[in-house]
């Protein structure tokens, strides 16, 4: 990422691109199987497009290219929305962003584009720091997601469960989504189990005791400790319950999607919609006001930033450009 950022010197972009691709591939490996291969393929392509174009949008020097890559990223995001079943939002995103915001971008870019590559497009501000910070944030978010949504399955525990299955019937192996073994401070082996919603151990003391007794004896050998040194804790992390598909298809995946969304919007969420509308109006007025206050560009010729980059200091604004904001103001 850092290598790909514009740094004002040659080289590194190819290397950065390759490294980025590699890391993206690693990321892809974290992905879980969605079901059918076609599902996987569609999601993989759309997701990869979104991420790659986003990376390119961030790292390209020319604002024009950035905007174009951003547009592509938006399209892919809209595709993700579609995959999630939010058709209206997917379309809305394309319309609003691609159709309005992005065009505005291009307008601004064209109106405010200095000749050639500006040096500030070729130099990034603390690129390494920014890249590291972003990476750390992504890392933490990913770790959290992975830790919560796909905890690993300790093979010893799974083997013990599978072996125990005919006798115990307390915890069928297919109902276990995750199993982790940690060592506590006092030497006890803690077995954390993540079960599906059907098991619901949290309130059933008897079930829990039975599970503890069953698993402790069968795990004593593979874990290499005495049975009383093993403590089984199921469902320490409360996962959101999975709703069944029928419910979902009646509601959020309803074929009458837009109608449902509209009903929701204008009944339950009416206030939010009103606030959004007001916000838009205020922003409209604000944008016009901002561009109206200072029409004379010569009132404050400023540039206190010393430029060492050869003659690209403050540029006297030609009088013809003074009329530019009116276009944008009209657009807003």
């Amino acid at each position: 990422m850092w290598l790909m950022l514009p740094r004002g010197r040659k080289g590194g972009r190819l290397l950065g691109g390759m490294l980025s691709a590699a890391s993206l591939a690693c990321f892809g490996a974290l992905g879980q199987c969605l079901g059918t291969w076609s599902d996987n393929l569609v999601f993989g392509v759309v997701g990869t497009t979104a991420v790659v174009s986003a990376a390119l949008a961030v790292t390209f020097r020319s604002p024009i290219y950035c905007a174009i890559w951003f547009a592509l990223s938006l399209l892919a995001t809209a595709g993700l929305f579609m995959i999630q079943g939010a058709q209206f939002l997917g379309v809305a995103t394309i319309v609003v962003y691609a159709g309005a915001i992005l065009v505005t971008f291009l307008f601004v870019i064209m109106l405010a584009q200095p000749e050639g590559h500006a040096f500030y497009d070729r130099v990034s501000w603390e690129g390494l720091l920014a890249a590291v910070t972003g990476s750390v944030l992504v890392g933490i978010l990913t770790m959290t997601t992975v830790a919560v949504l796909s905890p690993g399955k300790d093979p010893r525990v799974m083997a013990a469960l599978a072996a125990d299955q005919p006798a115990g019937k307390i915890l069928p192996a297919e109902k276990v989504r995750g199993a982790r073994v940690t060592t506590a401070a006092d030497g006890k082996q803690i077995v954390e189990l993540q079960t599906s919603e059907a098991m619901a151990f949290e309130k059933d003391e008897a079930k829990l005791k039975a599970l503890n007794a069953e698993l402790a004896t069968s795990l004593a050998k593979p874990l290499g400790v005495a049975a009383d040194q093993i403590l089984v804790i199921p469902d320490r992390v409360k996962l959101p319950t999975e709703r069944n598909t029928e419910k979902r298809e009646k509601n959020i995946l309803n074929p009458q999607h837009v109608a449902k969304l509209g009903g929701e919007m204008f009944s339950k969420q009416l206030i939010a919609v009103e606030i959004a509308g007001t916000l838009l109006l205020v922003a409209l007025v604000g944008a016009i006001a901002i561009l109206s206050i200072d029409r004379s560009p010569k009132t404050r010729p400023l540039d206190s930033v010393p430029t060492k980059l050869g003659g690209r200091g403050p540029r006297p604004v030609p009088a013809s450009e003074a009329s530019e904001p009116e276009l944008v103001g009209g657009k807003s």
Binding site: W125, E126, A130, T133, L137, I140, M143, T144, A147
Partner: protein, 754 residues
């Protein structure tokens, strides 16, 4: 009558406040409110005096028929209660109440009570009269000054403070106004504060007075711990005080109730330390000559006639305490005790001599007069130190007459100064009698009065002092005293066992015997007679000195060739009427007050001795039949005439001999000219070590304490300097900071949240 008494201090205060508030508008008219209120105050004082006289007369008539009747006369005017702390005083030593009972607790109760007796009434009249004349004089003298109104505010405040000082009836209030007059004095000495000498003189006066005031404060503490009250008077109707006043009728009627012994001596000695400061007695006299940097009316009013006599007033007021100290020795000289009153006398005499010697050679006219004032104050203390009714009356009478002629002399010198363009060095002018005839004539009268020539005021008072000293050294033959002692020896033995010296008891039994001699069997009057005899000759000598330096100054100023300093310009002239009128009035007084109130009529002494403090038996019994000692008067006059003649010989003419004598006397002359180098001595002994200490403290404060504090302050500064580097103005940097915070937050939730 009480309203009149209250009006005396209240009027000048009102005038001062009025001028203080409106002075910026009144400007050149600022003297009117002050002059009018002080004059009104004088009239009120006369009313008070008259009332006191009538009452005294009535009282005396009563006293003749009933000896147990109260002594003297006092009128008491309560105003308000300033402070009341119940049971502030807890004692294992019983306190006396007017009812004859004893109590062990007493409240600290400070009534603002004005109290007039003969002494107060005389002081009030004298103060307000002189003040009125000086205020009128100052209207001319200070004319055109930038801070004209400020001057009169101070004068009004001073008169208020001074009248309060002499009329309050509580030691704490006395101390307050003692300080108040000191503050006014400070403000007026440093009136021209832009002048470095004036500012320094003000500071010096304040600091030297602190030494004396410290002694006075200690005396007050001792009085409180021993008497359980600080009031002069006995408890008044409706007051919470229960203990008999320190100088109240109860104690005066029964002097046993006074505290005796070493404590009494300590109280007296410390009181006298305070008086030394205020009245410029050796060794605290150094501030008064420097105080002449103030405007001349101030010198006349405060530093000659009124404030500096507060010490004399206080000693007179506290006479019973001095009597109670009795013959308890301060220290022993051989077998003979050196008493507190002897201390007063010796210090007074020494100061009179010292100041007189210094005054011989000074060339600054006002300074000569200042040393003369110191010398005359010494005279007064000398008289008070005799401890006899005659001596105390003489001292107070000298205070009274001295106020007139010394104010006259100062105002005269002010007149000269005014004409000479504020030059006061006598070497720079001479022969002024032709251009300043009125000043010359009045100054001459003042000089004659000061020199003590018949029949001027000074003659009578000086003669009384000399007579009292003479009396003290001769009047009580040893044989009589011993005879008296033998009569009372049996009684004496029993009394001595309880450690008290019952002055009054004995003197009742041995009327007309000197109390000092009476109550101590071991008392050897040889020493006291010798001492007072010596002081008598010293006083006579001082009279000669006084006459000499007075006329020396007079001749140097008004005789010889006409010489006018350049500073006077070409307008050397007689002073305006507003200045000469007070001069003439004072001159008339200087001629006549001695005759009218002094020996020929006994008006002064008859009235003064009816002051409760002076009327009680112990002191009254020391009174002797007033008689005119021809030999004393003769010698006093002769010595004064010799002084005048010598001055005339040396300073009328070309003054060659004076220079020759000065040269011949060599180091002695230098000693006198250098004021015996006392200032320099103080500089080395006190000022320099204190300066070193001050710089040491400054260094500690500056580097140690400030250093610590600054270090504490530097920590946030350093932190701020570090933190401000973060404020680099880059939007992205701020965003980065936000993101870092977000990361910490998310990380914390991820680790600890589940």
């Amino acid at each position: 009558m009480n309203a009149l008494l209250i009006a005396v201090p209240a009027l000048p205060l009102a005038g001062a406040l009025f001028v203080a508030l409106t002075g910026w508008k009144l400007r050149g008219l600022s003297h009117w409110p002050i002059v009018l209120t002080i004059a009104a105050s004088f009239l009120c004082s006369l009313g008070v005096l008259n009332h006191v006289r009538e009452e005294v007369a009535k009282n005396q008539a009563l006293a003749d028929s009933d000896p147990a009747k109260t002594v003297g006369f006092e009128m008491v005017a309560p105003i308000w209660t300033w402070l009341d702390i119940p049971d502030a005083y807890q004692s294992n030593q019983p306190l006396n109440t007017p009812g004859g009972k004893t109590v062990t607790t007493a409240p600290l109760h400070i009534d603002v009570v004005l109290r007039a007796d003969a002494l107060t009434a005389i002081m009030l009249c004298m103060v307000t009269f002189i003040s009125t004349l000086v205020a009128i004089y100052a209207a001319g003298y200070m004319h055109g000054d930038r801070s004209y109104w400020r001057f009169f505010v101070y004068i009004g405040l001073f008169v208020f403070s001074m009248t309060m000082l002499v009329s309050v009836s509580n030691f704490v209030l006395l101390f307050c106004f003692w300080e108040a007059v000191g503050a006014c004095s400070y403000l007026l000495i440093g009136f021209w504060y832009q002048k470095p000498e004036a500012a320094a003189a003000g500071k010096k006066a304040l600091l030297v007075n602190r030494v004396g005031d410290f002694g006075l404060a200690l005396a007050l503490f001792l009085i409180w711990t021993n008497y359980g009250t600080l009031d002069y008077h006995d408890p008044v109707e409706g007051g919470q005080s229960v203990v008999a006043g320190v100088l109240g009728q109860t104690r005066l009627a029964n002097p046993d109730l006074f505290v005796h012994g070493g404590v009494a001596v300590a109280i007296c000695a410390l009181l006298f330390v305070g008086c030394c400061g205020k009245s410029a007695q050796f060794p605290l006299h150094v501030w008064l000559p420097d105080a002449m940097e103030g405007p001349t009316p101030v010198s006349a009013l405060i530093h000659a006639a009124t404030m500096v006599t507060a010490g004399v007033y206080l000693v007179t007021r506290c006479t019973p305490l001095f009597m109670a100290a009795g013959a308890e020795p301060l220290f022993m000289v051989g077998d003979s005790p050196f008493t507190a009153q002897m201390l007063v006398a010796v210090i007074g005499g020494f100061t009179a001599l010292l100041a007189g010697l210094i005054a011989l050679t000074q060339t600054d006219l006002k300074r000569v007069l200042a040393y003369s004032t110191v010398s005359q104050l010494g005279y007064m203390f000398l008289a008070l130190g005799t401890g006899s009714s005659l001596g105390i009356v003489a001292g107070m009478f000298h205070l009274f007459t001295h106020a007139f002629f010394k104010a006259l002399l100062f105002l005269g010198s002010g007149s000269v100064m005014h004409a000479m363009g504020h030059v006061i060095d006598m070497r720079q002018f001479s022969g002024l009698r032709k251009i300043m005839p009125i000043t010359h004539a009045t100054f001459l009268i003042g000089c004659l009065a000061l020199a003590g020539l018949f029949p001027f005021a000074g003659f009578w008072s000086k003669d009384e002092i000399l007579a009292s000293l003479h009396e003290r050294s001769h009047a009580h033959p040893v044989a009589t005293e011993q005879a008296a002692l033998q009569i009372d020896s049996s009684k004496q033995a029993s009394i001595d066992r309880d450690g008290y010296q019952h002055v009054a008891l004995l003197s009742e039994e041995t009327p007309h015997k000197h109390p000092h001699a009476a109550h101590n069997p071991a008392f050897d009057t040889t020493f006291s007679h010798g001492l007072y005899g010596f002081l008598y000759y010293l006083a006579v000598g001082c009279a000669g000195l006084t006459a000499f330096y007075t006329f020396r100054a007079f001749y140097m100023t008004f005789y010889g060739e006409l010489k006018v300093p350049a500073a006077a310009g070409d307008h050397a002239h007689e002073s305006p009427a507003s200045m000469t009128t007070p001069l003439v009035v004072l001159a008339v007084c200087a001629v006549f007050v001695g005759m009218v109130f002094g020996f020929p009529t006994h008006a002064f002494s008859d009235l003064l001795t009816q002051t409760p403090s002076l009327a009680y038996k112990t002191i009254a019994d020391t009174a002797v039949e007033p008689e005119f000692h021809v030999d004393v008067a003769f010698w006093g006059t002769v010595v004064a005439l010799i002084g005048i003649a010598l001055a005339s010989y040396l300073y009328l003419g070309d003054r060659k001999e004076a220079a020759a004598i000065a040269k011949a006397s060599g180091p002695l002359y230098d000693l006198s000219l250098g004021k015996f180098f006392i200032d320099q001595l103080y500089l080395v002994v006190f000022v320099f070590p204190l300066l070193v200490l001050a710089y040491l403290c400054y260094a500690v404060d500056r580097f140690l304490i400030d250093g610590a504090v600054n270090t504490v302050g530097a920590i946030p500064v350093a932190a701020g300097k570090t933190m401000r580097l973060l404020q680099n103005g880059m939007v992205q940097f701020y965003a980065l900071a936000m993101v870092l915070g977000l990361i910490v937050l998310v990380w914390g939730i991820a680790i600890y949240g589940s």
